[in-house]
Symmetry: none
Subunit: 254 residues, 2 copies
């Protein structure tokens, strides 16, 4: 791998570690700055970035070992870390999105019963393609990509149509933020299939495709987990102030 | 690298770790010593030094690996750590500066919408020059330095002119501290371009320039993050006492 490609991916993975780890610490401490009812959503957001921080540490070391001077290509880079990470974090991202709305218990349960299994299926179906396991036949990556798209479209349907109904009871400021959140999710989750497609037809190791994929996944992860979690925190702050005038007075300048 | 140069940079990086790490821990615990409204600013200050602590650990190890007896020049020293650090911390330093003033929400949003993108652009434009990537042409470092100066001047304009208007509503003690803060920012941020210029025209590795740059960056970082964060904490204490006579009575001796 060229020196420039190596340094770029190396610095991107380190940026991933720093972003995830300190968003986590911030969110865990900042949970006190929202009303008790919204703390679960903030804590789940902090858990998502903490799980991702762990996996970025692993990927950073794995990358150095696979391509750096200490390993020199003896071991292959393990794309499995990303999928294990997403298998845990993507369902949790949907949990935090629903939790911050503080909907009625039955509505919340119904949304999560749809979103969580769909998210787990989406990730599980993507992995055999991205890792090029060729489980069904040689070059079956596009098929896995296609299968993984079905639960993805179902998640979009639930978020944009079913969750849309739940938004009616929210204030205008919260509705605006939730719409931002959904667009952020759509824009960042869109990066993953694009990165996937870039590598889908690679035979052997393609350096340019690898660098694009790792850079794309990392930027998308930072936006989809750190920025997403901080928007969740902002929604929790707005809703806390709406629910409780006393909270609004001590936390914000009039 | 001579023994003296090696020991100097080594000790400076270790000083960086100690300063950043323990300022962070202090600020996170000390957030309770200010009124709730100001805790976010103190937590952001602690996050900035925590992110920097992570990067100083990385730089310390990287430096030993690049120049110490265990690596002996096999790998190049990665200046990317500093830029990844600044890319995250410089926008956050501006966030803590605005947050501690507890301005009206619309004024705060308008200031941050100007300062945060400008800070990110300033760092992103500086990196290709400092890392001598020669993206545009051989020896294009001065051009990147110049491009990076444009958002820097814009930040100064916003801090000294636009933020200046927001200061009108603050007490005299707070105004004095904010002016100190701006001067500290101007004095420390001024070190970075000077360090940059020292290395700009180096062809190959220049030991003297390297030592000056790393020493300069480290001292500037400690003042711009640790001292800066502690001044933010002091402002938060002053404003907490101004807002709440009960707080003033329990926290300070008359």
């Amino acid at each position: 791998m060229s020196n420039g490609s190596y340094t770029l991916v190396y610095n991107m993975l380190s940026l991933g570690i720093a972003s995830m780890l300190f968003t986590s610490i911030f969110l865990f401490v900042a949970r006190e700055r929202v009303a008790p009812r919204y703390r679960m959503a903030v804590m789940v957001s902090g858990t998502v970035t903490a799980i991702a921080a762990y996996h970025y540490f692993r990927m950073f070391d794995d990358f150095k070992h696979a391509f750096g001077t200490d390993g020199m290509g003896v071991v292959a880079y393990n794309v499995g870390y990303r999928y294990v990470d997403w298998f845990l974090t993507v369902p949790l991202l949907l949990v935090e999105t629903v939790a911050v709305l503080a909907l009625a218990a039955t509505v919340q349960r119904s949304l999560l019963n749809k979103l969580v299994p769909a998210a787990a299926a989406m990730i599980a179906l993507g992995y055999p393609g991205d890792a090029q396991l060729n489980l069904l036949y040689q070059g079956d990556a596009p098929l896995w990509g296609l299968l993984s798209t079905i639960p993805f479209l179902y998640i979009l349907y639930v978020l944009f149509v079913e969750l849309g109904k739940g938004l009616a009871g929210q204030s205008e400021a919260v509705q605006r933020k939730i719409k931002e959140l959904r667009l952020l999710l759509l824009a960042t989750w869109g990066v993953y299939p694009i990165s996937f497609i870039f590598n889908m037809n690679a035979t052997g190791f393609d350096e340019g495709g690898f660098v694009l994929r790792e850079t794309g996944y990392t930027i998308a992860d930072i936006l989809a987990k750190c920025l997403f979690g901080l928007v969740i925190f902002t929604i929790a702050r707005i809703k806390s102030a709406e629910d409780d005038a006393e909270f609004a007075k001590t936390e914000f300048k009039k």
